[in-house]
Symmetry: C2
Subunit: 389 residues, 2 copies
């Protein structure tokens, strides 16, 4: 019970986001073997580090990365534009997706905004003081799926001017097919902004070839569309802070001309240069698909566990509950008895109690998580946790 108290205190300090694994190790006396709170492709991290070691460390170029001012925002936009076949003037490169979200909310969202919940909390936490925030509750009985027809009716009924769609959504992994988004964009061209966050899109797919889908090229047609893309998750490089937004050239230029010029660090500019090479991308595609297959297998295994309910996901994570076990007990049991750190979602606005979010990690780690959860399920069924509540 003491560990629950300590964890609550730590969580309090971290606001509406999870404490990092370092903070956790320091605050609680636990050994963490698997960080299944952290949402990223570990194989992509391996690939990045392999490149970084051979191109930077071994060639003694670390000093170049650390000492000098990195390339300006515009230079990286140019590179990305060529690679992604997008107008460079519509690409805003950010110090992580969070900088892009903050900039958009503060520069372009003035009157009202709607955000489906549960979701990534920054979208409602970072709005300007005088902006009216509507939250649109996704329902557990719909598996938290966002029905765009109903969402549209809600937007019209409340005359809301700015809209957020996170696709796939976090923490549930709900995914909206590209075709449906295009219809929505068509119907809502009069809105000020439609912000579509594709930070987890590299893990989603619409057919078994696992091709990536993105809406970003449609910024050309729908000038109120803003696409947000974090690189932290799919490339496993949260520490280097890299993301980009695709938005109308006039909006993008107002950002780069007024404040966002040297927002990229030397590691991030190195990453983007690497990202835009065919050689890296062909290797990345292999580890992306390998990770999706791993994740699919992992989700199937978790689904087979008695008393475990899983929300259908096209993210690299699943939202799940184990019978009526409180999520905090489930989270702490996995941490204390198995060294597995998962996200207790009891503080997530718009989510009923009982859910934890489990990230897909490497094949071996996923097997450990599966076997541990299997054992916790057996302990649950033998009423071991009854006295705890």
């Amino acid at each position: 019970m003491e560990i629950i108290e300590n964890f609550r205190e730590l969580k309090q300090r971290s606001g509406s986001h999870s404490p990092s694994i370092d903070e956790l190790k320091q605050a609680l006396d636990v050994e963490i073997k698997i960080d299944a709170c952290f949402l990223s492709n570990p194989y992509a991290t391996d690939l990045f580090i392999e490149n970084f070691n051979s191109e930077i460390i071994e060639k003694n170029k670390l000093r170049d990365v650390l000492e000098f001012y990195p390339q300006q925002n515009n230079d990286i936009s140019l590179l990305l534009g060529q690679y992604l076949s997008l107008n460079p003037e519509s690409i805003f490169v950010g110090n992580g997706a969070i900088e892009i979200i903050q900039a958009i909310l503060h520069r372009f969202v003035n009157t009202s905004i709607v955000i489906p919940i549960p979701t990534f909390s920054s979208y409602y936490e970072f709005v300007k003081d005088d902006c009216e925030v509507y939250t649109y509750s996704l329902r557990a009985e719909d598996d938290f799926y966002l029905n765009l027809d109903e969402y549209g009716k809600y937007i019209r009924a409340n005359d809301i001017k700015n809209v957020v769609i996170i696709n796939p959504n976090n923490p549930d992994g709900g995914y909206i097919e590209r075709g449906k988004l295009v219809s929505f964009l068509d119907d809502f061209q009069d809105l000020e902004s439609i912000i579509i966050d594709e930070s987890f899109s590299h893990f989603a797919y619409e057919s078994m070839d696992l091709e990536r889908k993105s809406i970003e090229s449609l910024v050309e047609k729908y000038t109120n569309l803003v696409v947000v893309k974090s690189m932290s998750k799919d490339f496993g490089i949260a520490g280097i802070r890299a993301g980009y937004g695709v938005l109308s050239p006039s909006r993008r230029n107002s950002l780069t001309k007024n404040g966002y010029l040297w927002n990229l660090n030397g590691l991030a500019t190195y990453f983007f240069r690497l990202y835009c090479t065919e050689q890296f991308q062909s290797k990345y595609e292999i580890v992306r698909k390998k990770y999706i297959w791993n994740t699919l297998m992992f989700i199937n295994e978790l689904q087979s566990i008695d008393e475990v309910y899983i929300v259908p996901s096209k993210g690299n994570f699943v939202l799940l509950k184990l019978g009526d076990l409180p999520s905090e007990v489930l989270m702490i049991t996995l941490l204390k008895d198995y060294g597995i750190y998962v996200r207790d979602c009891s503080d997530k606005r718009g989510l009923p109690p009982g859910f934890i979010r489990v990230a897909s990690r490497s094949f071996e780690e996923n097997q450990q998580i599966y076997l541990s959860l299997l054992e916790v399920s057996r302990r649950y069924m033998s009423s071991e946790f009854d006295t705890l509540e």
Copy 2:
């Protein structure tokens, strides 16, 4: 002449800031031996890299820096507050000083602002559209020294609400003593903001013990004071993007609660943790003072060159002109014939023509710069450049 054309084109693309050395190498066909455009202490870069190699690379901890989300802004504030004996709630840690400047200008500067020129252009480029910008011209005949009494009269006469002071100023290195700033703060407590940029303060001194001076502890007393501190220059780590601001807790909390949470990358959080150790600081103090002595010697040497006029500087750079030689010719001559890249200041608002800015580098590099400039001075006096203009 073709090289001048190419350089102009490159400069056009870079806006009001210098092209980076990488951009320069790519665009012009020149070999750059010394980058005296870049303002940083190279000995401090050595010290940082030494630590990074032994603590991160050799201990195989690079993955920790790259893969995971770095510590949140508040954690680093806490650490810095303890180390600097400042209230952590008044410290805002930034993705380089530029992020802090941008955030302050957009969140707290609404009506009018005055900026002495010549100076770092972002202070007038990044203000909000509806904010009135006054520029206060520093005079060449005063060696660009900012007289606070006259500045104060100008502020009152125009009823200006927000004030910028860069100390030491860039590009001239003019320095205002701490005592004078305190009187100014005392007289102008009714203003909305007094922004004092101390990004070059580690190179300045008021007595021969070379002790660092800072105004940051006075934020406690003067709630309209905002101190901006880049770490790029004194620690020679522009590539990792690190800086901090000291400002009233209410302003600081409005930033960290609304947008600026994960703005630091893994390298920057590592740097701040290192910065707050006595072991690092004692070594840093040695290289800081060594570099100041180098710079003093360098400036003395440059002053001895015929026809060279030098503006008195307490920065790690000097603004200088060679007779009536156009600055572009001087800059390109140093680049093409000697491999030395300096900042041509012909585009600096508020500066008369003819000036280049030369950074102090390592002892050996400074000697090269001095000898090269000596030779250019001889060539100038033998009328070699007469046909060029």
